[in-house]
């Protein structure tokens, strides 16, 4: 008697129970993240500025009519050196009379390339090391973390200078490899921490009791939940790498002429601070804005990618 009634109750009430979230239109995972990201106006602004900078950097050869990958037009004209803004050269010219706008665009191309490529390489190494160490624990973790510790014990700038002086040929890939070699350990620690935490979560235990193998657990279950911190770390690495590259270039250990980055342009313009301060301001502001935007975007992503969706 009682059983019948409550069974009846189950079918009568439950299927129609709609929580407010269920009442809404269905949104995809991407849409939810997008909506949350766009709520952070500052982060969106950062993203927009970065998009503009990226487009400008990508189309730099078309804008300036140059075909080389990284090298700016090299058309010295000493008669208009250090001119300041003049017709045809909206940002003026450098000490050799080359168009500053073109040099800024190509410099940005190099700086952004170094930043983004370094971040990609860093993430690749860090996710591999961090996920294996965090997931398997034990001696795998022990060995990998000791290696990470060793890298973290290195005085960063000192080693970079020494290695840049000896190993690097001043090309973009060599700089990328060099910086990534010392950026990955801290990110690997973040990834490891995420994996360590997530592998004890109940949903992972649940998946394990279903018979899911290690690969499935790591790739399908943990990684998507750890994506937030990893992506955020990546955006921070971009900023870090851009600054590090500029430091290397400023001390002449970075990219070598004719390739130039914002950092090496600053090195170049030091001596003209009084005669044409624009040459010093422009690359510095460009670095500042780019790194700032990456940091702002990273903060926005941090909130948007929170997997537990504590607030809608």
């Amino acid at each position: 008697m009682a059983t019948v009634q409550s069974d009846q109750l189950l079918t009568q009430f439950q299927p129609n129970e709609i929580t407010p979230e269920l009442a809404r239109k269905r949104r995809s995972q991407f849409r939810i993240i997008f909506d949350r990201f766009t709520r952070n106006k500052v982060a969106v602004a950062g993203f927009v500025v970065l998009a503009v900078l990226l487009v400008a950097a990508v189309f730099a050869p078309i804008i300036t009519g140059q075909t080389s990958t990284y090298d700016p037009p090299n058309d010295p004209n000493l008669s208009i050196a250090l001119s300041g803004p003049i017709p045809g050269h909206p940002l003026g010219t450098d000490d050799l009379g080359r168009d500053e706008l073109a040099r800024m665009l190509f410099g940005g191309r190099v700086s952004l390339a170094v930043g983004i490529l370094t971040a990609l390489l860093t993430i690749l190494i860090a996710v591999t090391v961090g996920s294996l160490a965090g997931y398997y624990g034990g001696w795998v973790d022990m060995v990998m973390m000791r290696v990470t510790d060793a890298f973290l014990s290195v005085p960063l700038l000192v080693v970079l200078f020494v290695l840049a002086r000896t190993f690097s040929d001043g090309s973009v890939p060599s700089i990328v490899i060099l910086i990534a070699a010392f950026e990955w350990p801290s990110v690997a620690r973040v990834v490891r921490g995420e994996f360590l935490g997530l592998k004890e979560r109940e949903f992972l235990l649940a998946a394990r009791t279903l018979g899911a193998n290690d690969l499935r657990l790591m790739v399908r279950h943990i990684l998507p939940n750890a994506a937030g911190p990893i992506i955020v770390a990546a955006t921070l690495v971009v900023g870090d790498a851009i600054i590090t590259e500029s430091v290397l270039s400023f001390f002449s250990f970075g990219v070598r002429p004719p390739t130039s980055s914002w950092g090496s342009m600053l090195n170049n313009s030091r001596d003209f601070i009084s005669s044409d301060p624009l040459l010093l301001y422009l690359p510095g502001i460009a670095i500042l804005i780019t790194v700032l935007c990456f940091n702002l975007m990273g903060d926005g992503l941090r909130d948007a990618l929170d997997p537990y969706m504590t607030e809608r």
């Binding site: 510790d149 060793a150 973290l152 014990s153 290195v154 005085p155 960063l156 700038l157 000192v158 080693v159 200078f161 020494v162 002086r165 000896t166 190993f167 900023g239 600054i243 500029s246 430091v247 400023f250 001390f251 250990f253 950092g263 600053l266 030091r270 601070i273 009084s274 301060p277 010093l280 690359p283 510095g284 670095i287 500042l288 804005i289 790194v291 700032l292 940091n295 702002l296």
Partner: protein
């Protein structure tokens, strides 16, 4: 706690030992290593002279033997002779340490005071204009290339306004100065480099403290403190700040470890006669014995201050102290 301490110290020493092998091997095996440098600036060098120099620096031995003899000497405080000026490396480094320490300690002390002030203010006045202003400034501080900031300050305060000296640790000639004037001279020379060096620390630490403070304020024990009837000041400084400072202390300690790399940029731009400049000269030469010593000094300071951070954490946090 004692067992833990011993374990950490043993680990640290071992790590330093590994670092020394890595660095030594790296510097001796690279193309353009010590061997190639000899006589690089002297095209007229004879093979006999060359062999003599190699012998003098021990470069005619196999690398492992070289390492062992270097290690033996290093343990006695002898890091070899500089390639550039033939002076003992240890002596060169020691001579430069006071200048770097002076700059570093001033900058870190200043940064700590500023970071606590700014971080706490921002947290107390969360979402106020002051908070936004501090947040914006710390973002800019984090995103700014330090050397560029240094150049701007030099230009503004040194060249345009002529307020502060932009090069060196003291005036060129201080013989006629009174004691007070000497002190003043030190101070004005310190201001710009210290501000530049502290910028990044202030920005990161204040942001760190702000978020750790906001995290602490949400905790149940803060509600307990308010429940007792304590005033806002006591709740904040007695109950919240103590908890928020614990993680900052370790962050600060770790920052000390970055002394070797951190000083390079500032010292170079402000012509500060410290370790960083010595290093830059050595890299450009390249002066391998000095580089090796400097790399190890850098690694040692990172490792040492990480150790200090761990120990401090245990000392400050009773949860760790008693377990």
């Amino acid at each position: 706690m004692r067992r833990y301490l011993i374990r950490r110290v043993v680990q640290a020493v071992f790590m330093l030992f590994v670092m020394s092998i890595v660095f030594f091997t790296l510097l001796h095996l690279i193309p353009g290593g010590p061997d190639a440098v000899i006589g690089a600036n002297n095209p007229h060098i004879t093979p006999i002279q060359r062999a003599a120099i190699r012998h003098r620096f021990g470069l005619d031995q196999p690398v492992p033997i070289q390492y062992l003899s270097w290690l033996g000497n290093a343990l006695h405080g002898d890091f070899g002779i500089s390639f550039s000026n033939s002076l003992p490396v240890a002596q060169e480094l020691a001579a430069r340490i006071p200048a770097t320490l002076e700059l570093f300690l001033t900058a870190l002390g200043f940064a700590l005071i500023m970071a606590i002030l700014l971080g706490v203010t921002a947290a107390v006045k969360q979402y106020s204009i002051t908070d936004y202003l501090i947040t914006v400034l710390s973002y800019i501080g984090i995103s700014m290339p330090v050397f560029w900031f240094a150049l701007l300050l030099q230009e503004l305060f040194g060249v345009q306004l002529g307020l502060l000296p932009v090069f060196g640790r003291t005036a060129a000639d201080t013989t006629s100065f009174t004691n007070l004037e000497i002190f003043e001279d030190y101070v004005v020379h310190l201001i710009l480099p210290a501000i530049v060096l502290s910028l990044l620390f202030i920005a990161t630490w204040s942001r760190f403290l702000r978020s750790s403070m906001l995290e602490v304020i949400k905790q149940d024990y803060i509600r307990t403190a308010r429940m007792k009837g304590l005033g806002a000041r006591q709740v904040f400084f007695r109950h919240a700040l103590r908890n928020a400072l614990i993680p900052l202390v370790t962050v600060v300690a770790i920052s000390f470890g970055g002394i070797a790399g951190g000083a390079i940029i500032t010292e170079t731009i402000f012509a500060w006669p410290g370790l960083g400049r010595l290093f830059l000269v050595a890299v450009n030469f390249p002066d391998y014995p000095t580089l090796l010593a400097y790399l190890l000094f850098g690694a040692a300071s990172v490792i040492f201050f990480n150790l200090v951070a761990d120990i401090l954490y245990g000392v400050i946090d009773p949860r760790i102290r008693y377990s």
